[in-house]
Subunit: 576 residues, 2 copies
């Protein structure tokens, strides 16, 4: 709604990167209308407590009682110090008053949880327009309405959905048009050691939009990749500009965009009042801007997590795979082939070295199954055959990248941790020193316990969870890396000046355009067509065909007629 709001330019002054930098770093947070009977309020309190201290929490409740052990002020004016941020639990009809009261004591940042705005018919839409106008009037940066808030590990987590801690700090910035996915996303990310620089749920985007947070994150020094969950692209041109800027900065952008299907589009419209977009156009625009598009929540987190940590990408697709699971090597081979990787054979010299190192019954090929033979005598052995083989494969100039399959790690700290920790440290060193980029993955997508997660984090290993998700994430990264230079070289001039996500001018008539009108309009953007003439009679058609040459096609041309062939209006391959 921001674009259609009362004062779009004025709104933008509330949501600049500088304003958002302050917005996302509050020290003192007032919970307006909080009480323990609200699950939202309990969640926000617990989220804030997860960041280490509850000292900055203030509670405002007309009852004046204590909540969460904190004596409530009856009104925000009664607080001793001015909050940096107000989190409003009040209902939609009390939002305006609460914002005015907060502004009166100098508050410039607010999260509005209440629903019942643009997603709720004409009356709600009007209420949201008034909210936006009020934000401008009060010089107030507002996240919401219908927003759960944000999570910034290490700083603050005023978030209305339950977070199962701990909060992992990392380099992934997340922007969600649906905050209700957070309770699913965060535990999934935590179990894969994926931490965030910020997670923001933008709700109905009356003031702060997903694009504002996107813009802020591109230049945020804690952020190395941005993940967006979108139900709609309200500002397509701005999205394309920001995506291109991110590409220039080397900041990968990963988008999970709902609305691929008609049913999904209807659902998106219902949820936050979003107008869904034509999915083929979205797809094409994403490709042109180097955006990584994913299709599921699991793919979103796995891919974004890799993009936020991986710094080296291969310049080719020749992939070596090392595993101790025969069945796993087959599945990886299938998946990697389908993702366009070339599982070429190792050089004869590398093969000879591997044959000397492995048991006689091991097949020395790619993917390499080192077999489980070492298990017959594995006691305190530190290095594993797949780690040693990884070093040999990575040194072979036949390969552009190597993939290592991690054997199961202990979920809890073992009595003798020396063995596993030396092994992981050694593997990390191998991967870091490898002449080509090295990746490691597990055979299925399973969360790690706290002990292995911290062990991997300490050594800098990012473990991809699952064959399809892991190899898929690597493939996304490789394609992103491959396309980046050509897209940058093509440059803004060709890629950005044209309305790639179409905001077409109003058609001459309602409904479906005629092919002739569409052709003229598209031709204006330089889209090429086969030669054509618009004619009014059979004899004119015959004359035009003689001029244009055979074989020829005749089509009926009429506005509003979308499926010409259904009514016999197309005749193909005319030879005379």
């Amino acid at each position: 709604m921001s674009a259609a709001g009362p004062d779009a330019a004025a709104l933008r002054t509330l949501t600049t990167p500088a304003r958002l930098t302050r917005f996302f770093a509050p020290r003192i947070i007032a919970l307006i209308g909080a009480s323990e009977s609200s699950a939202w309020a309990r969640n926000v309190y617990q989220g804030l407590a997860l960041t280490g201290s509850t000292d900055g929490i203030r509670v405002v409740n007309p009852s004046g009682r204590s909540f969460f052990g904190i004596p409530a002020a009856a009104s925000i004016g009664d607080l001793d110090d001015a909050p940096d941020l107000a989190y409003l639990f009040v209902g939609p009809d009390r939002v305006e008053t609460a914002l005015r009261e907060a502004a009166a004591v100098g508050v410039r940042n607010a999260v509005v949880l209440a629903a019942g705005f643009s997603e709720a018919g004409e009356a709600g839409l009007e209420r949201q327009r008034r909210l936006a106008a009020l934000a401008v009037e009060l010089d107030m940066t507002v996240l919401g309405p219908n927003s759960l808030g944000f999570v910034r590990p290490g700083v603050a987590a005023p978030y209305g959905s339950g977070i199962r801690g701990p909060l992992l700090k990392g380099s992934l910035g997340l922007v969600l048009q649906s905050g209700s996915l957070t309770s699913a996303l965060m535990p999934f990310a935590l179990g894969r050691g994926i931490g965030c620089s910020l997670l923001a749920a933008v709700g109905n985007e009356a003031v702060v939009s997903s694009m504002d947070v996107f813009e802020y994150l591109i230049d945020d020094e804690d952020t190395r990749a941005v993940g967006l969950f979108l139900e709609t692209l309200r500002e397509p041109h701005r999205f394309m500009e920001l995506a291109f800027r991110a590409l220039e900065r080397g900041c990968p952008v990963i988008v999970l965009k709902a609305g691929r299907s008609d049913a999904g589009k209807r659902a998106a419209t219902a949820h936050t009042g979003a107008i869904a977009s034509d999915d083929a156009v979205v797809d094409a625009a994403f490709r042109q801007a180097g955006v990584i598009r994913v299709d599921s929540l699991e793919e979103f987190v796995t891919t974004a997590g890799l993009m936020a940590t991986q710094t080296r990408w291969p310049d080719g697709r020749r992939m070596a795979v090392v595993t101790s699971s025969g069945g796993g090597s087959n599945l990886i081979a299938d998946c990697a082939s389908e993702q366009g990787f070339d599982l070429t054979a190792m050089s004869p010299a590398t093969a000879a070295q591997l044959r000397a190192a492995l048991p006689p019954f091991a097949s020395v090929q790619n993917p390499l199954d080192v077999t489980g033979a070492w298990m017959s005598s594995a006691g305190a052995s530190v290095t594993k055959p797949e780690d040693n083989a990884l070093a040999l494969m990575a040194a072979d100039s036949e390969y552009d990248l190597v993939v290592h399959v991690m054997t199961a790690l202990p979920q809890d700290e073992p009595a003798d941790r020396g063995g596993v920790e030396a092994r992981i440290a050694g593997l990390a060193e191998l991967m870091r020193d490898a002449p080509v980029p090295a990746f490691t993955l597990s055979l299925v997508s399973l969360p790690l316990g706290e002990y292995p997660r911290e062990l991997l984090a300490r050594t800098g290993i990012h473990l991809l969870g699952g064959i399809e998700l892991g190899i898929g994430a690597i493939a996304h990264g490789v394609r992103w890396h491959e396309r980046r230079e050509p897209l940058l070289a093509a440059g803004r001039a060709t890629a950005m000046r044209r309305p790639l996500v179409a905001n077409p001018p109003a058609p001459a008539q309602e409904g479906v355009w005629s092919e002739h009108d569409a052709r003229i309009w598209l031709g204006g953007f330089g889209v090429p067509f086969v030669p054509v003439e618009l004619v009014g009679s059979a004899s004119d058609a015959a004359a035009a065909a003689d001029r244009l040459g055979f074989p020829a096609v005749v089509k009926v041309c009429q506005p509003g007629l979308a499926h010409k062939s259904d009514v016999g209006g197309v005749v193909l391959r005319l030879q005379t």
Copy 2:
């Protein structure tokens, strides 16, 4: 190799369902050559201990020392009682002697762990043939070589790969050609509350083949669905017969078949000496036999787990979805549409009931997002709006099935467990009593802790993990149910008598057949073709075209020429 073994009919007498029933229910198990320095042996010991008692374990080791606190017998003949099963840890060159010694004391069942058989060149192949012949001579049922053993929860788990307990007993029978996947599969299944009746790793299949275990499981009363991980189909005709028999019995068969790609086929051949099959033929054969084919380990477990527990399937594809996550409803709508479900609107009567029950800003449509409004006052509330809405949607005759999205469950037992337990019991009752089949899923694929897993198991709720995996599993089940009757009606006569997975007779010449030869051969099976004549000159071709009619095609016909059009050997659409 079993089919090519020294005495195929005799081998089959060792692997009948009756023999396997005894094989998979050993009380006394001798670990031959076990010692604590072997990780395999440690795993087998721990696996057996997980079934509750180590009383039945005997250790045989020439050293005569104690292992795992059990005094070892120097030879199997020194044991007080005859083992029901011998698990051989000895190397490949000592397998024969160990089997003879075991047979001498009456042992009729053995697991052979050693590698170095059919996967290891000509010498290994010959060694495997000798092993099979020996099994016949000794009347010994042998699982392996290169087998990790089996897991039968509640009975015995002599298994060489580490199992992170507990062992969940369930109704899914699993047969794996690669046991090394078990350490990935079992924790994934455990976290989703999916239990097994049996998991068997068949290794090189010298004696007991995957088909033997498949046959055993179809009639096993503890088994309701069979999951197969296959690298190859060694006995395609038998597979088709068994799959059809399973279909008759209403026992779903789920197959994860590696070797979709050329690289995957190479890997499969290396791993267990398997000859990989043409994947398109495999696909077609699976469809004809009502087999559910999956592509990833996660899809394998999720789908098989559902098929082993779900008893009601819908007779149509009109799906109602109820969730409290707006973003989730969009993603589910996309996924369900792509899987061929029809997210049709509810009836006006149901819509009116829902509007009365939900907050005014909720959009009453399908998928139904009940919103999180209840959270503002949720204290000890037992029922949730999505549960109530589920009952309304399920009662609407517009729908053939309903899908409920489960809100996050507590991972550990809460102080006040009454609320959550009453809610889950109520939901289970709603689902059981629903007029149409009801399913429940979580937004992402995450494992459950012990508390929620046992709570769901107690109430009979099977929670599907993740949108894509969960909706995908439901879609597999619906298609299986839809196809079952037509496939059974078509019957053995048409579906089974012909070699659907081709074992073609030796071609008249090596290499690529000519189109003419292929046509004659395929025509023999009743495959129809457009009219064709083989001619030897341009004038004969013109005469043939006159007889057959226009438009016509001329192709060059030569054995060994696979890509005729690449050499200009095909001319299409000739009009004269």
